[in-house]
């Protein structure tokens, strides 16, 4: 029997057992009673007076966590530069 197929099946079964077993230990869908949500409560309560926007998700993306959006814009710019660079030689 092929060694590579045997090792690949063992790996897949170990990962599947781990994920299914840990799914039974996670909290129920929708019950956040024993989880500390103080940061999100502060954001929902004070987003309209501090930033002036009605949308709490946009104020988190651009105002409270604007530095992550700067990193994401850099990743998008690098991907476009890489794709155009990979096809330059075809157009001469």
């Amino acid at each position: 029997m092929n060694y590579r197929n045997f090792a690949a099946w063992i790996f897949l079964i170990v990962v599947a057992v781990f994920m299914i077993f840990s799914m039974f230990k996670i909290h129920d869908f929708g019950s956040l009673d024993d989880i500390d949500t103080s940061m999100d409560d502060h954001i929902i309560s004070n987003a309209q007076t501090e930033t002036g926007a009605n949308n709490a998700v946009t104020s988190v993306v651009f105002d409270y966590r604007g530095f992550d959006t700067l990193g994401e814009a850099t990743v998008l710019f690098t991907a476009v530069a890489g794709v155009i660079l990979a096809f330059r030689r075809l157009k001469k």
Partner: protein
């Protein structure tokens, strides 16, 4: 790749402005309704991909070079980072929202607590950042699709 028939081109001419206007609406109302820069930019980029499929990649590459698209994307990126640096100059913090709730004439009305009416004149720096990110996403996604479609029509042994 070559273009499609006359019926497809006529319908694309009719539908394309409607989709672009809807995408610009989603970008502009990002601080009031669900949406924003990334979501609206993806809608407009899919309208541009529809034009690319209907008219063929060789015709589209004749009309729009990718140098113009990369210029538009660079304008979007530079304006996004300069809005962050202006927050450093005027408010002593990077990405500070320095004219929210300050009675500025552009985007600065004061928003009261639990006001459920949608006033577009609020929220300071946020709509300008939405426009900058929307420009970047439109130009970037259109350039990726255009370059890859043009390159596959030049592969040796592929269909012309």
């Amino acid at each position: 790749m070559s273009g499609m028939s006359k019926i497809v081109k006529t319908m694309t001419n009719i539908i394309f402005p409607i989709i672009v206007i809807f995408g610009l609406y989603v970008i502009a109302h990002g601080h009031l309704t669900p949406g924003g820069g990334f979501q609206g930019g993806a809608v407009v980029a899919s309208a541009c991909a529809m034009v690319l499929v209907a008219y063929g990649s060789i015709w589209t590459m004749d009309k729009i070079k990718e140098k113009q698209l990369s210029l538009i994307e660079s304008i979007g990126a530079v304006s996004f980072i300069s809005l962050g640096l202006l927050g450093l100059i005027f408010g002593a913090m990077f990405f500070n929202n320095w004219f929210a709730n300050s009675n500025f004439f552009l985007f600065g009305e004061i928003a009261s607590w639990t006001n459920t009416a949608a006033n577009i004149n609020t929220a300071g720096v946020l709509p300008l950042m939405n426009f900058a990110v929307g420009l970047k996403v439109i130009a970037g996604l259109f350039a990726i699709v255009l370059v890859m479609a043009y390159a596959t029509s030049k592969i040796k042994g592929g269909k012309q």
